[in-house]
Amino acid sequence: MISHQFPVLIVVTPLILSFFVNVVGWWDKRYCVPIVFVALSVSLFSAIGALEAVIKHGGPIHYHLGNWQPPWGIEYVIDYLNTPILVAIAFISILVLIFSQRSIEKELPESKIPQFYTLFLLNVTGLLGITVTGDAFNLYVLLEIASFSAYAIIGIGERGADFSAFRYVIFGTIGACAYLLGVGYLYIVTGSLNMADLHHLLPKLYYSRAVLVGMAFFLVGVGIKMGIFPFHTWMPDAYTYAPSTVSALLAPLFTKVGAYVMIRLLFTIFEPSFSIKLYPVAEILGWIAAAGIVFACVMALAQSDLKRMFCYLIVGEMGYILIGIASANRLGLTGAILHIINDMFMMACLFTVAGAIMYKTGDRNIYRFRYLHRKMPITLGVFVVGALSVVGVPPMCGFFSKWYLILGTIEAKKWILLGVLLASSLVNAILFFRVIENAYLEPRGEHAFAHDGGHPSISLDEVPWSMLIPMLMIAAGIILLGIFSGVIIKHIIQFAVPASF
């Protein structure tokens, strides 16, 4: 019986418990983390259950909130596209939670901890909700829930965080409003807010100009939220100055959920025949993606701040996903969906490593990483795994999504996009080997042979296990996702791609 309720349990459990955390934290701060953990575990369990149910059922499962039939009631839908993303969100947020304990103790005043965890859980609620909902307006509300909590927890970061959080508020609101306008236009012409219903109603109206305007607003709104190239300006500042746990939570999840919404929008609300054939949306997205990747590569090369470099990397990764969408064929879209999941793990890996380094050294400048490999060997090992994955070295997962993206661009005969993809992985290699070199190698004179000759003795000073274990699990996840990407595609993602491809 409970198995029918999985779609709603995914969202409602963390929603309720987030307020519970607030109350309980008032009495005793030690109970915050266990409660959040329970909430997210229930979400994870439900998400896995939902995935299983979808695979067993062989298609989307609809859940009507309050038993109001759509299109009037709000509907939650689980299908092949969103269940793997739900599982990934819940899994990563649990790991980040475990990671956060010590890091937050260090970076925040103690009195703020319950509030922090409240917002943490609310944010995850919002993200899970965005992914699971089947109602365009409900998506807006959940998007804003996720955004508010993001604004607030970014704002409590280091110097500069408040200002960048304010900028994020402005940009985020423009994005959300643009999305809402898009919903409004579609509502005017169809009178419906349900995604599945819109999908049925819209094809007759494809030549209406209102639909086109709505689509354009949608793209701008979602584009801002997911931080694609021309709309990315809020992101580097916000994620750099946020507390390290917060960037470890938001950077992997928020932008990727935006990418998910983009795919939903183009291929569930609209049909590929509209968004690809009737208007050159794919073409435009492709050019934006190419420009974004090039821009992100150049900007990332210019950064000496580790987290800031990663932020530009996200802009680039978003470009990859857009390339997958823009190649508009089965292979490309498979790559895009796979990349959403893979990139969650990769970015979680990189940002937790940045957080761990911050925790121990209080410094993120990559030119001051010397001797770090003696101090924190495990952290750096995890970093290497993440780095190789972003560069695209098999068997890490980053390679496999890139492989499908490349195949997609070849099939679509978009050679420039292909070139950009290949070139950007080279730039990524430069980016990461720059860090690896600084952290691992200890430049010395020509004739120093003595063991440890002439170097300060730096002993092992690794972060606590509560931070190491999540990092190691993410690293293991990266490798496993890579090796078993074929299984994931065969059983899940190939059904998530629209049938008309």
Partner: protein, 497 residues
């Protein structure tokens, strides 16, 4: 061909992977244990690979599929005759080089030995993976692992030059990898498969232009690792690395993996028929012939021993590719034989250079006069290796060069026969002066007196030197390189011997 499904290839791969992590976790705390892991992993790995030899010799193929990636695309090990040659070579020489590195690193008291042994094991993991890979995707995976693991080895000394060499190495090889990725993706798009097939599988797919393009990008990609001439620059710079690493780079893992990949592409992806139909072999043959001659001439001018050896390597690698590019029966046989034989001879030479360096800290040929009297065993081994590379019987280099020349004759390409002969001549021109100087000249500084290096350093040198002669006399003994090469050539050309 009969296929045997067995997990042995996977186990062989895991042996070095697990070994690598055991080395990492043991660390500096217990050096003896760490080096025991190295040796144990090496021996187990060689044993496992050798255990597959009987199947291969009976014309069977050992296959193990890890997981399916996409339709018709697997992560898969498939051991055939050609892969077996390289796997045997790499895993056997790993034992030898491990022994040698233990002696070398301890004698020099090098820093960061754990990282060294860890990356070494990973590099062998990658190299053997390349050998056992059943398709291009798997091959690419191990190729990249090999590249990344070797970076740490090249930059091991951590001097500014070493770091620069490391960067250069990465720049060349990762760019090459991007080319490979591109060509691999196009190949998959055209044919829907990436599984190696003797004689190639691209025939009949795609237009002439696109196939030519893919072939060129493949050659640029893998050629960057095989140090074909315009993109060889990283190899001499990488000489800055410790000598066992150079030995590994040149003789066993890295460049050999590059050549191996080139041959895989030439013979198992495109195949002789497509190559000759499209006329692709002619430009390739000319490029590598150019490399052979120019590399030899540059080698003549080098005074730094390891750099001279490096250019000799570039020359020999191109010879191997040239043999395969001639698409003749004997040429392929010779090319395949030259991979292990050159490995044995070149590793001897490098280990000798290392032994001299350990004892005397001398790197330049002009300083080595008269050293033959002080380190007779080392220099005797050096002489064997050098003579072998010049192609003098009874050392094994003669046999492979003989078949390469026969291949050129079979293809009726006299110009390439001349290239082979010229290269042998030039080899002699830059190796013989070293030997002459070492044995017959008087040392410049009389007070310098050195003994042989320690047992761990000398013993591997002796083994490989004896091996070089042994394989010259009995090319089919022990590891059956000859039989394997003959069988591969037969499969590829699709006809009887």
């Amino acid at each position: 061909m009969e296929t045997v499904h067995s997990a042995t290839p996977l186990l062989a791969m895991l042996a070095s992977l697990i070994g690598a992590f055991l080395i990492l976790f043991t660390g500096e705390r217990n050096r003896n244990l760490r080096e025991f892991w190295t040796l144990a992993a090496a021996v187990i790995k060689f044993g496992l690979i050798a255990s597959m030899l009987p199947y291969i010799l009976h014309g069977k193929i050992v296959e193990y599929t890890i997981v399916e990636v996409y339709k018709g695309l697997f992560l898969q090990f498939r051991v055939d005759t050609f892969g077996m040659i390289f796997a045997l070579l790499a895993s056997f020489l790993w034992i030898v080089v491990s022994l040698y590195s233990i002696g070398y690193m301890r004698d020099l008291n090098e820093h960061a030995q754990t990282r060294y042994f860890f990356c070494f094991a990973l590099a062998i993991f990658g190299a053997v993976g390349v050998a056992l890979a059943g398709n291009l995707l798997t091959l690419y995976m191990f190729y990249e692992i090999l590249t990344v693991a070797t970076f740490a080895l090249v930059a091991h000394k951590e001097t500014p030059e070493a770091i620069k060499a490391g960067r250069k190495y990465l720049a060349y090889l990762l760019t090459g990898a991007a080319f490979v990725l591109f060509s691999m993706a196009v190949t998959y798009y055209l044919t829907g498969t990436l599984d190696f097939k003797p004689g190639g599988f691209v025939a009949g797919h795609g237009s002439r232009e696109i196939l030519s393009l893919v072939f060129v990008t493949f050659m640029i990609g893998f050629g960057s690792k095989a140090a074909i001439m315009p993109i060889h620059e990283w190899l001499p710079s990488a000489m800055i690395a410790p000598t066992p690493v150079s030995a590994l780079l040149h003789a066993v893992a890295v460049v050999k993996a590059g050549v191996f990949c080139c041959l895989r592409v030439i013979l198992y992806v495109f195949g002789p028929k497509v190559l000759s139909d499209l006329g692709l072999w002619i430009p390739l043959a000319f490029v590598v012939s150019f490399t052979v001659i120019v590399a030899n001439i540059i080698a003549l001018t080098q005074d730094h021993l390891k750099r001279r050896l490096a250019f000799s390597t570039i020359n020999n690698l191109s010879i191997i590719i040239l043999g395969a590019a001639l698409v003749s029966h004997d040429g392929i046989r010779g090319a395949m034989l030259h991979i292990p034989f050159h490995g044995f001879m070149k590793i001897t030479l490098f280990m000798c250079a290392g032994a001299i360096y350990v004892k005397t800290h001398k790197e330049f040929i002009s300083e080595m006069e008269g050293i033959g009297k002080q380190m007779p065993i080392t220099m005797a081994a050096f002489t064997i290796g050098a003579l072998g590379l010049t192609g003098i019987p009874p050392v094994c280099g003669f046999i492979s060069k003989w078949y390469l020349c026969l291949g050129a004759l079979e293809a009726k390409e006299i110009i390439f026969l001349l290239v082979f002969l010229a290269s042998a001549l030039l080899d002699a021109a830059y190796f013989l002066p070293i030997i002459y100087g070492a044995f017959f000249k008087k040392p410049k500084f009389v007070k310098d007196h050195f003994d042989e290096a320690s047992f761990f350093v000398v013993f591997p040198i002796v083994i490989t030197a004896i091996g070089s002669i042994f394989f010259g006399l009995f090319p089919d003994a022990f590891m059956h390189f000859f039989k394997l090469a003959v069988a591969s050539a037969k499969n590829i050309m699709g006809m009887g011997v």
